[in-house]
Subunit: 175 residues, 2 copies
């Protein structure tokens, strides 16, 4: 593979489509023969989404580590612990050397909620991310320091969404 600049890409904003756009990068990267690792920070481990099925068929490494969205203090403590575990896994994959693209899906949530220190995470990335590794982070409320660190930041805004008019989430489109 030619020498390249490993980009740090952030998909953020209030709109739907942050993870979807990351899957588009994954599709393109897979087409170019990239080795890809996806770590999902929030989504529950039990999901049977289209993207998970597709990743299985295509031998893409995929980890669902999250506890779902937390409400009670107990759920929040569990989510915080799981997000720290997941970050440990992400660190291993980032320095492992075998990947061209690592996607940290909904990684902004543990940063936003303070379960992980933004400063510690960014310091670690600055010191340890291989220069040719592409890193893609999704989630709303991306901290400003992460935006400053990133090469490319896209905000997704809903102009309108079928959900708003009572249309249920559709298999193959929304999950």
């Amino acid at each position: 593979m030619k020498k390249r600049k490993g980009l740090v890409i952030v998909n953020t904003g209030e709109g739907k489509g942050k993870t979807t756009a990351a899957l588009g990068v994954l599709f393109r990267a897979w087409g170019q023969g990239f080795q890809i690792c996806v770590i999902q920070f929030i989504k529950a481990e039990t999901g049977r989404w289209g993207e998970v099925k597709a990743a299985e068929k295509l031998n893409i490494e995929w980890y669902k580590t999250g506890a779902g969205f937390a409400q009670t203090p107990e759920e929040k403590a569990e989510a915080a612990a799981k997000s720290r575990e997941a970050w440990g896994l992400a660190q291993k994959k980032i320095i492992a050397g075998g990947f061209d693209l690592v996607i940290l899906d909904e990684f902004t949530y543990p940063l936003h909620y303070g379960w992980l220190s933004v400063e510690e995470v960014l310091t670690w990335l600055r010191e340890n991310k291989p220069p040719d590794l592409h890193l893609l982070i999704t989630g709303r409320d991306a901290p400003q320091a992460l935006i400053d660190y990133a090469d490319t930041v896209t905000e997704m805004r809903n102009i309108k969404h079928a959900f708003e008019r009572g249309v249920k989430a559709q298999s193959g489109i929304d999950f």
Copy 2:
């Protein structure tokens, strides 16, 4: 497949990522076993992008019909003619009945430039699009009538982009 509502989805806005997000939907849909057809209206026929390579490997129907972005009057006339041909192809695929998802990539351009009549296209879609077919349209400057017709519209906005700081387009990420 269960009865479903075929969504009309539009990815628009000035930012990068409209086609990328459409590829994410494609990836998810492919994982759910959908039959997918992609028609690219503007991109040149000679591209060897990651998404085209991936689509070949996965037996996704993919048509590159465009003439690239037009500058001279001759190029514009050619682009207009090619976009009308491409719309004819899209009509065939939409009514064919075998697809779950049809993606019209950069379809807003021929509408915006008046190479196709927005009113005629929307009238045709209202009368002919199968109710369970998902239709995804990308491109900037989506006409208001198309936004009104769509179920879900997402706008992509660049907060920052590596291109702006002289980083070249990266294989596997940007193409």
